[in-house]
Symmetry: D2
Subunit: 368 residues, 4 copies
Amino acid sequence: MSFNTFGHLFRFTTWGESHGPALGVVVDGCPAGLALTEEMIQRDLDRRKPGQSKYTTQRREADAVKILSGVFEDERTDGPRTTGTPISLMIENIDQRSKDYSEIRDKYRPGHADYTYHQKYGLRDYRGGGRSSARETAARVAAGAVARQVVDGVSIRASLVQVGPHKIDYANFDWDEVGKNPFFCADPKAAALWADYLDDVRKQGNSVGAVIEVVAENVPVGWGAPIYGKLSADLASAMMSINAVKAVEIGAGFDAAELTGIDNADQMRAGADTPYFLSNQAGGILGGISNGDPVVVRFAVKPTSSILTPRQTVTTSNEDTDVVTKGRHDPCVGIRAVPVGEAMMACVLADHKLRHRGQTGRDGAIGY
Amino acid sequence: MSFNTFGHLFRFTTWGESHGPALGVVVDGCPAGLALTEEMIQRDLDRRKPGQSKYTTQRREADAVKILSGVFEDERTDGPRTTGTPISLMIENIDQRSKDYSEIRDKYRPGHADYTYHQKYGLRDYRGGGRSSARETAARVAAGAVARQVVDGVSIRASLVQVGPHKIDYANFDWDEVGKNPFFCADPKAAALWADYLDDVRKQGNSVGAVIEVVAENVPVGWGAPIYGKLSADLASAMMSINAVKAVEIGAGFDAAELTGIDNADQMRAGADTPYFLSNQAGGILGGISNGDPVVVRFAVKPTSSILTPRQTVTTSNEDTDVVTKGRHDPCVGIRAVPVGEAMMACVLADHKLRHRGQTGRDGAIGY
Amino acid sequence: MSFNTFGHLFRFTTWGESHGPALGVVVDGCPAGLALTEEMIQRDLDRRKPGQSKYTTQRREADAVKILSGVFEDERTDGPRTTGTPISLMIENIDQRSKDYSEIRDKYRPGHADYTYHQKYGLRDYRGGGRSSARETAARVAAGAVARQVVDGVSIRASLVQVGPHKIDYANFDWDEVGKNPFFCADPKAAALWADYLDDVRKQGNSVGAVIEVVAENVPVGWGAPIYGKLSADLASAMMSINAVKAVEIGAGFDAAELTGIDNADQMRAGADTPYFLSNQAGGILGGISNGDPVVVRFAVKPTSSILTPRQTVTTSNEDTDVVTKGRHDPCVGIRAVPVGEAMMACVLADHKLRHRGQTGRDGAIGY
Amino acid sequence: MSFNTFGHLFRFTTWGESHGPALGVVVDGCPAGLALTEEMIQRDLDRRKPGQSKYTTQRREADAVKILSGVFEDERTDGPRTTGTPISLMIENIDQRSKDYSEIRDKYRPGHADYTYHQKYGLRDYRGGGRSSARETAARVAAGAVARQVVDGVSIRASLVQVGPHKIDYANFDWDEVGKNPFFCADPKAAALWADYLDDVRKQGNSVGAVIEVVAENVPVGWGAPIYGKLSADLASAMMSINAVKAVEIGAGFDAAELTGIDNADQMRAGADTPYFLSNQAGGILGGISNGDPVVVRFAVKPTSSILTPRQTVTTSNEDTDVVTKGRHDPCVGIRAVPVGEAMMACVLADHKLRHRGQTGRDGAIGY
């Protein structure tokens, strides 16, 4: 069952609420013998953590991770190593501002999970959204840092490629730019434009959506398990499970609907050792199995539902009212979804690597 | 694990190759006491079966389903009833044309799973694509017919909404039209246009992609299991697992990226008994849980990769060659994906109904 | 979820009722490239099939298996090979004697699942026990034959070691004897004694229980996944899931309770390449992981509940009555459980082999 | 997959090593609205915790549990309530005595998981057995305390019924005695005898095995999911997964092998509202489904492998040596397995309650 657990052979279970004492993740199935330190995990967490620019929530969280199990160092191992047992990672919540939540306790915020959680469970932890808060994604990023060790050699990177109506120009695309602007954007010109645009949006008490592109390079041919464990299906589930995500596409994605078979099917040529593809409309996946080309996934994040503009809603007693969501919110939650998308890609690939190995005894293709 | 199995409490396992003796599905977890006959299943299968118009493959298959287990009738039940045990459904393959497959035995067809299956498994059943053939979707449709009984009261319908560059006009949308044209299209004007367009495409030895919209109405509030069992995540996985699908979106989907929070978040008003939403950008899902509005999913199907135009490819010995995929293929596989999308929606909802019931003891929301 | 499915990476789903048209199994996750023919599977099925001696039910079933998918032969493979896709196996029911079932339709047979199935599901297929019939174990044996190919090199054998109060003498134990008597008994003297004993039991319209011992040799060190996927835990579940089984033990089993630590812990000595154990109280499993010694499991089968002696019971309307179970029943169902126990051992080991390989990239221990 | 996770709808994942900073459990799928406090969980933990008598290890651990998520209290709930989100429970390790572990770092202790963990994973946390330590069972007991709330109304109790060769006399059986002696023994005379016996065993630097009986009363008819999710199979897996357990039986268990069908099958009589059974050889389970009688499970725990008597073993370099396991160990680990057995029973029943509810929409039988 898949409530708060993701994956099969490499799998993780997250826990924790926005305003509880802590949140965390248990990573199970990680192979033994991999190097793992809190610093490695912290690097990824620091990219996601709030309060790093005026474009993200001003909540102040160090998001300092602790490894509670699954890693061991003795004098014979070269630094701390995974032991093959569950890796428990915990992040304490620090800045749970003791605000008055009575406003949202009795009202459903439009676009939020307030109404559905309440109706499903009969009660809800309304403090900061409780379990439905995007704060849960910190646990995913921690799991993703472990997954990166499992798929060592695979490069996993992401870029914000659209903010509101403004898309990047792929002619400017440069991975090295991603770390140089507060938007994780590979197109420096787009980043500059977005800065002004998001200032306006925020000043209007509004918010805006975004699109993220995640690319995994050096994925071997052969990962993915047809029919219902396709690499594409697992990536779709992974990305759609991220807060506020409403769409996922792979390779040409929705554009594939407009293409003809002549234009869409990636032709092949003989390479020195193995064949190669002349294009990558497939986004690196054919029949649910990786084909050796970069795995390319894009997903859309809806605009933050918590905005300073009054919205029509109802009380928990089914009476008309208005609500203004005060508090510290991201004007564009899509920005911080960039490292989350990378983490989910890493976790899916780690799982499929282990599954492929179990099924075939190999790490990739049969080769020639 | 999710190789050839989909779902948790309501789940099905499919088997069979395009040119083997038969294909089928075992539906496990279906509640006892539901009416189920071969006729009920056949109705859905007949909508998907090939050879019904010139716009789909001319392979002739009756796709006649047999119930092999899980249904029982005695004089005290009002007709055949499910017993709570696995329902095994089998469809024999009839028209496995004994063509010469040597052409594709030694060549990888561009856009197909030939290369990845071969590289993963070391060998492949090349006859008609073997397991990677869209013929597998017949088993899904059979499972979906069972699922419809589980979610009796929920209406699940789909329409083709785009063929190549030609989208429907939602102003013309009428569910009653879907059964009146060979495209399962709710817009009769679009259907007429597509008829001409697809004639051209076929004559050119080409193919084209499509977009399908699936809508489930009367879904109670409360179905869906955060975080990694979100209704949205399971729908994304379900649709992305269908052959040739490259993109999935829910509600506003990718368009949500362009919207502001003011425009995107569906406002609420007090209703007679329960609140209602003033719009449905959410596509019926908030925080991964159904909100009572129609669940709306769209997915994109790439153009058929099997086309009559020669394409560059390589042999299994990594030598350059060309390939022409003869045989009987759909110029637009998206057409027959319409009932498949409905089936997957039905299966996801059936699973979540049972999961919600297990978790809460209720069939839907807490109510007021 | 584990309704009618067993296993994770190597897993199978069974379906079918005692008196339906057929029963079968879908084996998923079997690696590609293994030799597999109907004959290989039939060999194991023939050992389990009914009517082979007067000590088992006289129902006449050929139990002829058909492979419907997952195996492919072309001129380049040396005989039929598994393709990595689901292997669907079907056995048609032939001898569904058209008896009058009205007797047991309205009465619950003591010791049977009649009462619990009816109360759980609200209705039941009463013909021959429906899904609760031991006929389901034919599907397990078929799956086990596939599993044997996966763990090629591991020897899996079983013997009946107790019938009613009569245990074998391990001093007489000889695997070669198992095929020479109708009891699958490795002790020929015990087999002779049981023949007379079971004649008496049957003539009295009675039945009797039994104990089966299953031994797997050449299992590499390292299979098993702590904590909740222990090899021992999975074997316990596997054996306890067989019809009529009420007890499972590994190695010294219940006798371990009487032992002291000095007597129970298997001491080790250095071997030429790897260490070895001086005894095998552990039954080949330490901490849930195989240790290289033979894996030894015993399980107890209760006496057949269907007997010719009248028993007190109630009707489905909760009224006192008596019932005599006529029909063709095994006086000792434990006999035919011997090949079933082997099959379950094979399936558990196949699953753990693949899981170990996925987790470690190796087929067994690290070695020295 | 089932590595460190147990259960399906009610399921928990444990983590932590014997000498790491902490251990814990994430309980997922617990229904919302149940009362839950740290005190409720602590009550069960206190029964298991070490150092409570001279018959258990002298390690001093408060085993104080913290609830980190999944429970919420506001002024409208009557005390803290579960929210339906994951319940994370943590227990910090206090008394990790800084002993010199070099002795067991390089030697495999007979009867322990040292050898198999090392060979499987290539390295191991040798401090106190690391993950293979019975200390993990504290996490199970914590999960079990949550499960008890889920199956409120079901009584779950256990007694030690055998220590070494000394069995209790069921004529003396009194549940009220269980809390009055350090052995959780329902027979006060046996407890007195065991006190002397275990003193002797401990003084000899030896240890001894035990048998525990767990009984669940007021389980409704209908829990259990045939075929591979039988209540009996899940109980077998649950108990066999406990450290040092080598055997599990239900109802008559191994004795059923010696019985005839006349003696074994529990006869039924019509009751006021529902039928009842004249005996309970079945241990409350027929066909894998609860029948309304007490569910009775017994399991055998082998003697503690850590003893003060020198034993033959090998080094990690495959050289002969001897080992004496110093440190603080239970002379009979079976004693502290009593609350663990209760916890696993509670977890299995909680899971099956939810599964039954999901499948049928009812909490138990159809009734009459």
